[in-house]
């Protein structure tokens, strides 16, 4: 298979299967009164692994599919997920964080942006729902539940897209600086 097509094809399959599983199963399981939302975690993970542009495009596509499948106002979820995918991608490109808990922080932030952003968009669109304690409680619990799932979702996404990711120029530059241009994974015989 053409290398340039491998990542988009894997992302299309990942997005489709994840959205179907989300709406057919995950959204019907309630934990502490809320259902986990895997979609923003998925978009943030793709952004962290593949960069800002794939992250934004993936976020748009997943958001559109969610809006279409759940008969919601088109464009609302896409807009939020574009922001999440792009931000996660830029985090990788600019900071290149290597700490193991970065996906947890990114996933929690993505869940917060998605949940609070969705509520704000609904208010802007004129949906009658007051800012009640129940709404605030549900938002906080949903963010916490999503935070618990952030690391497993990131590990799963990394496993799926691994091998089809383009090499990051920033990472390559840093490796050149620290190892004299050679990958530390290269075997001595290959040097």
């Amino acid at each position: 298979m053409n290398d340039s097509l491998r990542l988009p094809l894997r992302l299309i399959a990942l997005g489709f299967v994840a959205v179907v599983v989300q709406i057919a199963a995950v959204s019907q399981i309630t934990v502490f009164g809320v259902s986990a939302d895997l979609s923003p975690l998925l978009v943030a993970s793709v952004g962290l692994l593949a960069g800002s542009l794939p992250g934004a495009v993936f976020g748009f596509a997943v958001g559109l599919l969610v809006d279409l499948a759940l008969v919601q106002t088109l464009g609302v979820t896409s807009l939020l997920f574009i922001a999440i995918g792009y931000w996660a991608g830029r985090l990788r490109e600019l900071r290149d964080p290597s700490h193991g808990l970065v996906p947890l922080a990114a996933g929690t932030t993505a869940a917060a942006v998605s949940t609070i952003g969705y509520a704000l968009m609904q208010f802007l669109l004129g949906v009658q729902a007051p800012v009640s304690w129940l709404l605030l409680r549900q938002i906080v619990v949903l963010i916490l539940v999503d935070a618990l799932l952030a690391l497993p979702v990131y590990a799963l996404v990394r496993r799926i897209v691994q091998g089809s990711l383009p090499e990051d120029p920033r990472r390559r530059r840093r490796r050149a600086y620290t190892t004299g241009g050679l990958s530390p994974l290269q075997r001595p015989s290959a040097r």
Binding site: V20, V21, Q22, I23, A24, A25, S27, Q28, I29, T30, V31, S35, D37, S52, L53, A56, V57, F60, G63, L64, L68, A69, L70, V71, Q72, T73, L74, G75, V76, S78, L79, I82, Y86, Y118, A119, Q122, L125, V127, Q128, A129, P130, V131, S132, L134, L135, Q138
Partner: protein, 297 residues
């Protein structure tokens, strides 16, 4: 080279945002028969077999999680049900007497069941999808569509009571707006001895609470009174809902709130968070329920 990459990235980002905003604006201003809604119906038609398959395949996983939750609440629920059973047994004998009397008096006054459940064919459908954002949009998707006779506006019930109404129909699937959705309303009667009429609406911000509004300020409503659909409210405009479908029980009847806002709080009888199957009330051919009719909640 780097500048070109940055320009390309920003251009794609701007394009995606603009497309999203165009979709949002266009969809929001459209009516239900417009192109974007038609595309949406087409997509759910295509996706419904996949979603249904996934829903069935993943049911054991859902049941496992549901089992943990149910086990935690089982003891409390058992005690509540025992108390409820004893209360109901006391009431049954009185009701049987009242039913017999009612049948005799109805015959005397020549009243017919103009809009009761016998005029509908219940069609059983499986719930395939549930909306995750219940505070803003409380809907479910079921595996019955226009091919099965389902039409927009038809009432949906389960074994316990009213669940909602059909809001979108495509070939093999339909979307049901639940009674706890902020757009829902239905005329109801409180069985408090006087049969107070009111409008049942969801309480905004709490998906487990419904309000019965527009009641008389001095209505003798008590806790645990049953609220049912009122059915027809005039001979000219028939309700979408047959009369007598249980909606909920009164959970809060504050005299001050009743005097100030003319409303009481009820809790839905249908277990809306654990729906696996529902029944869509499809009107029989040749009845008013099956044809075109004015839509009164």
């Amino acid at each position: 080279m780097y500048d070109r990459q940055v320009r390309r990235r920003r251009a794609v980002l701007a394009l995606l945002v603009v497309v999203s905003l165009i979709l949002l604006t266009a969809y929001f201003g459209e009516n239900a028969g417009s192109p974007l809604h038609a595309v949406q119906r087409g997509v759910i038609t295509v996706l419904s077999p996949v979603e249904e398959g996934a829903s069935r395949a993943l049911k054991p996983v859902r049941d496992l999680f549901g089992w943990f939750g149910d086990t935690l609440h089982a003891k409390q629920e058992r005690d509540q049900l025992k108390a409820q059973r004893d209360d109901l047994l006391r009431k049954v004998s009185g009701y049987e007497l009242a039913m017999e009397e009612n049948a005799r008096l109805s015959k005397l006054l020549a009243i017919d069941g103009s809009n009761d459940l016998s005029r509908y064919d219940p069609y059983t459908a499986r719930v395939t999808i549930r909306s995750p954002n219940s505070l803003f949009q409380d809907t479910i998707q079921v595996d019955a569509g226009s091919g099965d006779g389902v039409r927009v506006g038809q009432p949906v019930i389960d074994g316990a009571g009213l669940v909602g109404r059909v809001s979108t129909v495509s070939g093999p699937t339909s979307v049901v707006t639940l009674i706890t959705d902020q757009s829902f309303s239905v005329s109801g009667r409180v069985l408090d001895g006087k049969g107070e009429w009111g409008l049942v609406k969801p309480s905004l911000g709490d998906p487990n609470d419904l309000l019965v509004q527009q009641l008389n300020a001095d209505a003798p409503i008590r806790l645990d009174d049953l609220v049912v659909t009122a059915g027809s409210i005039s001979s000219r405009l028939q309700s979408l809902y047959p009369r007598g479908i249980p909606i909920g029980r009164v959970t809060k009847a504050d005299p001050q709130e009743l005097a100030d806002k003319q409303q009481v709080h009820i809790s839905p009888l249908a277990d809306l968070r654990h729906l696996d199957f529902v029944q869509i009330l499809i009107g029989r051919a040749g009845t008013a329920a099956g044809g075109v009719r004015a839509q009164v909640p």
